[in-house]
């Protein structure tokens, strides 16, 4: 396994399998009354978050604590530019305190990759701008695989604001790596630049028509649509978006009964996902959250337990 987890590209299929195996063991730990494992005792993990986050930050925090790491949350919100400090200086300052693992969330694409060039600590990308969110993709794939038994030849449909989504970018890479067939759905204005060439090269499909693909989906992933996109002219109204691209009650009816419904959260109920779909028996939304802790425990374990002096 690579030293850092910056992108899904850092993972070979064997790495993903190892991460999933460990995650399954960690998943069992979550259901014990005493959840603490000693694996990362004496190691220090800093959650360095340049952007607001509740679920990802707490998920990493719990994961680190259950592995007995010392976990410190550093909120560096507000761009370092406006504070007059370069990103490099901010990172060197934190790293100089003696950090083994840096979990980075940043609003700018590529930030985790840049940070990894400036520090000896293990860097884990917890979301960089519109680029990637590899632990989210891992927990999504893990969740779908547990539901369906395998991802091989399963058809996963990803719907929503693809242009601005790091969840989409990581997922499309990982799902293809694991043998799934992926179709991404969005209005033309929310498709990333150059997606036609990219999809051909990376082996996924694109369509503007959700109703054409939804009945054939083995799993569906709804992405959050930010309401401020409307002011950017990406689509005319929330109502029109829902009619074209929302997982409405009617569409729930055409979905295969066993097909898991995923959403990385936070959900806009009534916009991209109807309450009936979010709360349906086949909804995997809360499974994703619990898998998130197991996956992050697994990632921290694999990247930090063997590193350096402690173990």
């Amino acid at each position: 396994m690579n030293k850092h987890l910056l992108s899904v590209d850092d993972l070979a299929v064997g790495d993903v399998e190892a991460l999933f195996d460990t995650a399954a063991e960690m998943h069992d730990v979550q259901h014990r009354s005493v959840k603490k494992l000693p694996a990362l005792r004496g190691r220090t993990v800093v959650n360095l978050f340049f952007e607001d986050s509740t679920r990802t930050r707490s998920s990493f925090e719990i994961a680190g604590k259950w592995l007995s790491a010392d976990v410190i949350n550093v909120s560096a919100k507000g761009s370092s530019v406006s504070k007059g400090e370069s990103l490099r200086d901010t990172v060197l300052t934190v790293a100089a305190m003696g950090v083994d693992g840096l979990v980075i969330r940043h609003g700018a694409s590529g930030a985790a990759q840049q940070v990894s060039q400036w520090t000896d600590a293990v860097v884990i990308n917890a979301g960089d701008g519109m680029h990637e969110h590899p632990t989210q993709a891992l927990l999504d794939a893990y969740t779908i695989q547990r539901r369906l038994g395998t991802l091989e030849d399963k058809h996963v449909v990803i719907v929503g604001d693809l242009t601005h989504s790091r969840v989409f970018r990581s997922n499309v890479l990982l799902l293809a790596k694991l043998g799934a067939r992926v179709t991404v759905v969005a209005p033309p204005t929310l498709m990333p630049a150059g997606v036609t060439a990219w999809s051909k090269d990376a082996g996924f499909e694109t369509t503007y028509d959700l109703d054409e693909v939804l009945p054939h989906a083995d799993a569906v992933m709804m992405l959050r649509v930010q309401r401020e996109r409307m002011s950017g002219g990406f689509f005319p109204s929330a109502r029109e978006y829902t009619v074209g691209y929302g997982l409405t009650r009617d569409r729930l009816g055409v979905l295969k009964p066993g097909a898991p419904i995923c959403h990385p959260g936070p959900m806009n109920r009534g916009l991209e996902i109807a309450a009936d779909a979010a709360d349906a028996a086949q909804s995997a939304v809360l499974d994703q959250v619990s898998a998130g802790v197991a996956i992050r425990m697994s990632v921290l374990y694999h990247l930090l337990a063997g590193e350096g002096s402690a173990s």
Binding site: S79, S109, A111, G129, H131, T163, G194
Partner: protein, 425 residues
């Protein structure tokens, strides 16, 4: 003032002959007691002229000063540079322009010709005092809000009309800010889609180029397109020239060689505005430079303090160094490949820029009687660029560790060597 005998130089690449300099001018007879410069195997060009340089003084003397930028320019073979107006304060008054002129004269290594802002404070709203800058000691003729586009068509129209009174030209940074978000930082295309970086589509440049050539036709004025970066812009300029519209254009060395895929590692040293484009655009720009559609090479030398580049990619400063490497890049890309001759290089790096900027005494033909502004080039020298080895105060050098064929050996400003043997004289 020293007398010089430049022995054995190939003048504009057209065969060996000696060049004689006395009292700052080229003369017909070898002067007595002259210093002899051995130029066997070297090409003599008229001193290079850069239409587009950022010298950062006043305001950001930690990134570059007029002196350090002048040293870099001389080492790059330049005898004149046009200093862009986006300093702090902005060069938008006669006094500000004269100050830059005087800083250049004090440095004394190249003629530093100030560019005036088109609009007050580069705000794009009200015309700056164009006429007062033109009448000042600095004799400003080129006006540009470079770094920003003069976006308001009404302002652009008036600027084009107004500068006709004193033979001025508007150098436009062609980029429609409404065709990309405020955080755009690279070429919009497949790679930006993959990397999740907000981009500028080529059309954001092309629509402004198209609008401006039509405004130039309407106003019967002259427009210069700064740093052309797309094949579409080239097509528009080619069409406009074929219709007799008074438009000129420049291309940077980096847009002639570097492509957008260098951004895959998110290294801000490759972040520049306009952005690096795909290989198809690079090929079109080379063709356009060779066939005369693009008139000039201009560096857009943009030094930045290290800490201004060590931000996340979208937050880092735009721009890259260029003065010291420009001739080597053009030599490597255009001459070594056979696409251009040294006479063509003289045209695009000296004669055309001097004509566009209205600079007297520069951009000559090395004929007897002309001011002795001379650049000597070794066309066979192979250089490996080292960013540590630079007169610039900044190190944002995209050419670091790149191997280029062709190097400046000596520069002569009005008869006085500023650079000899590749080092400041």
């Amino acid at each position: 003032m020293s007398a010089l005998v430049i022995k054995g130089a190939s003048v504009l690449g057209d065969g060996g002959s000696d060049v004689y300099v006395e009292n700052g001018h080229l003369v017909a007879e070898a002067p007595t007691g002259a210093r002899v410069v051995d130029a066997d195997g070297l090409v003599a060009l008229p001193g290079l002229v850069d239409l587009h340089t950022h010298l950062r003084e006043p305001g950001r003397e930690d990134a570059e000063t007029v002196l350090s930028g002048s040293q870099a320019a001389a080492l790059g073979g330049f005898t004149a540079v046009l200093a862009m107006a986006n300093t702090s304060p902005v060069t938008d008054t006669a006094e500000a322009a004269e100050r830059v002129l005087d800083l250049g004269r004090t440095a004394g290594l190249v003629d530093v010709q100030p560019v005036g802002a088109v609009t007050k404070g580069l705000a794009g709203q009200e015309l700056a005092e164009l006429g007062l800058m033109a009448r000042s000691r600095a004799k400003v003729r080129v006006f540009s809000d470079d770094g920003r586009c003069v976006h308001d068509p009404r302002v652009m129209r008036r600027a084009l009309e107004y500068v006709r009174a004193f033979g001025g030209v508007v150098s436009q940074h062609s980029q429609d800010p409404d065709l990309a978000g405020p955080t755009a930082c690279c070429h919009e295309g497949e790679l930006s889609g993959r990397l999740g970086l907000p981009g500028w589509p080529g059309v954001a440049e092309e629509v402004i180029v198209a609008r401006d050539v039509m405004l130039a036709r309407h106003t019967n004025s002259r427009v210069h397109v700064a740093h052309v970066s797309t094949a579409g812009s080239v097509e528009v300029i080619r069409w406009a020239k074929s219709r007799g519209i008074d438009v000129t254009a420049e291309v940077t060395p980096h847009h002639l060689l570097l492509t957008t895929d260098l951004l895959s590692g998110y290294d801000p040293v490759f972040k520049v505005n306009p952005p690096l484009r795909p290989a198809e655009d690079v090929a079109a720009l080379r063709d356009a430079l060779a066939d005369g559609t693009i008139d000039a090479v201009a560096t857009d030398h943009a030094p930045h303090a290290r800490h201004d580049k060590e931000h996340a990619f979208v937050d880092a400063a735009f721009g890259m160094l260029g003065l010291e490497t420009a001739l080597s890049v053009v030599s490597d890309v255009m001459v070594t490949s056979g696409a251009m001759t040294w006479a063509d290089v003289a045209r695009v790096m000296s004669q055309n820029p001097a004509r566009i900027a209205g600079l007297d005494g520069h951009g000559g033909t090395l004929a007897v009687g002309q001011p002795a502004n001379i650049t000597l080039v070794d066309p066979a020298a192979v250089v490996v660029v080292d960013r540590a080895d630079s007169a610039s105060l900044s190190r944002n050098n995209p050419w670091h560790e790149r191997k280029l064929t062709g190097a400046v050996v000596a520069t002569v400003l009005r008869g006085t060597p500023t650079v000899l043997n590749g080092a400041l004289a």
